[in-house]
């Protein structure tokens, strides 16, 4: 059985953090420079009592404005900010959304590659007749993990959720995948404490990096140069591989949507892979890097604003924490 994306809904929390607000706290950061370099002007931030599960519920309810929830027969939730170690957030989501009981539900713990992996699982479940209508939800609140004095990460990440419904259909619209993993990069994008290896440390000491950003081991750590190196090494090869698997040339792809990491990195990748500017999506101006939701947010924008049209072949590519990466081609 073939599969297609039928619905894309997104939800962003109400609080907004602007570049000017970051600059007011940290005058060294120039608001215009942040916007020009990383392509972000504002990001949405959850309130203290709001979690990724809450964002997920809101995104799904928006999806159900156009789709009968009774048809959903599998729930996959991608998050690295679960409400609990256990139970699984997807199980709670099933009950909050009042979905049927005779359906499967589980979480996947991935970051920026999560949407592509979720799409791969949904496609596999539909083609093997395990499911007919998969609700794939991405929801992330990285800002809860970031130290208030870590202005570099605060300027990049925003919170958000997306809900995608993938259904069986006659002609396949989700094509071949290339997936990849390299766990040797685990320490370069990590929250060191809070799991079983190293417990959360009360009053953890603050450390400062060479550019003045401060964090503790309880916070998100990102080694920017190493992540940049990983990306510029891995993504061009990934694009080559996924094109080969789909028997397509770069020029035959109508549009490219990469994980919206930051504008500088995307510009550099685009030039390195030699993708024409007019075929390459860059827009995270009012959302920031929402981790696993950047591709669905971009795809929704492209469809609604006719940047892509029915029949177009669109290459989707996610990469990041793990390291983990994946790409596929879909037909709109």
């Amino acid at each position: 059985m073939s599969s297609q994306i039928s619905i894309i809904a997104t939800y962003l929390p109400k609080n907004i953090l602007t570049n000017q607000m970051i600059s007011d706290e940290f005058p060294h950061w120039n608001p215009e420079k942040i916007e020009l370099k990383i392509g972000i002007k504002e990001r949405h931030i959850v309130s203290d009592n709001e979690t990724a599960l809450d964002l997920a519920i809101n995104a799904c309810e928006k999806a159900f404005e156009k789709y009968d929830r009774e048809l959903i027969d599998f729930v996959i939730l991608c998050t690295q900010s679960p409400d609990y170690f256990l139970p699984t957030s997807a199980c709670i989501l099933q009950s909050k959304l009042k979905l049927r009981n005779n359906i499967g539900a589980f979480d996947i713990n991935l970051g920026c590659s999560g949407f592509v992996y979720g799409l791969a699982i949904a496609k596999a479940f539909i083609s093997s007749k395990i499911a007919k209508s998969v609700l794939l939800v991405m929801s992330e609140t990285y800002t809860k993990h970031i130290n208030k004095l870590d202005f570099a990460n605060r300027s990049i990440f925003g919170d958000g959720a997306s809900a995608i419904i993938i259904e069986e259909c006659a002609d396949s619209k989700i094509h071949e995948f290339s997936l990849g993993t390299d766990g040797t990069g685990a320490n370069n994008l990590i929250i060191p404490t809070g799991g079983m290896r190293k417990k959360w440390i009360p009053d953890a000491p603050l450390t400062e990096d060479e550019t003045g950003n401060k964090r503790t081991d309880n916070n998100l750590f990102m080694d920017g140069p190493e992540i940049f190196n990983f990306t510029i090494e891995t993504v061009p090869a990934l694009i080559e591989e996924v094109l080969l698997k789909n028997a397509l040339l770069l020029a035959e792809v109508d549009y490219f949507i990469f994980h919206q990491a930051n504008k500088f990195m995307l510009d550099y990748l685009r030039k390195k892979i030699k993708i024409p500017k007019e075929k390459f999506y860059i827009n995270m101006l009012y959302t920031g890097n929402t981790v696993s939701s950047t591709i669905p947010i971009a795809l929704k924008d492209c469809i609604e604003n006719r940047i892509v049209k029915p029949g177009d072949k669109v290459l989707l590519c996610g990469f990041g924490v793990g390291y983990s990466w994946g790409a596929t081609i879909i037909t709109i």
Binding site: T211, G224, F228, N229
Partner: protein, 79 residues
């Protein structure tokens, strides 16, 4: 690549305004513009011009442009 071209192009690539030009002894880490974005730009610049990778540890050891040139390798420059 000539060192003089390297200095000019790096100055432009990093969009430096706090000093008019670079010389090999320019102290990078004391520049107003030296932040996490500048570090990412240096990694990109070196990849683009020399196809060389700079690791985080190597970058942490850089103080002056001379240090950066030595990391890239003096043999990669014509002068």
């Amino acid at each position: 690549m000539k060192k003089s071209d390297f200095l000019n192009e790096l100055h432009e690539f990093l969009e430096i305004e706090s000093v008019e030009s670079f010389n090999v002894n320019t102290n990078l880490i004391n520049l107003d513009e030296y932040d996490s974005l500048a570090i990412m730009s240096i990694v990109a610049f070196i990849d683009e011009k020399f196809s060389s990778k700079l690791t985080s540890n190597q970058l942490a050891g850089i103080v002056t442009i001379k240090d950066l040139i030595e990391l890239v390798g003096n043999e990669k420059f014509e002068d």
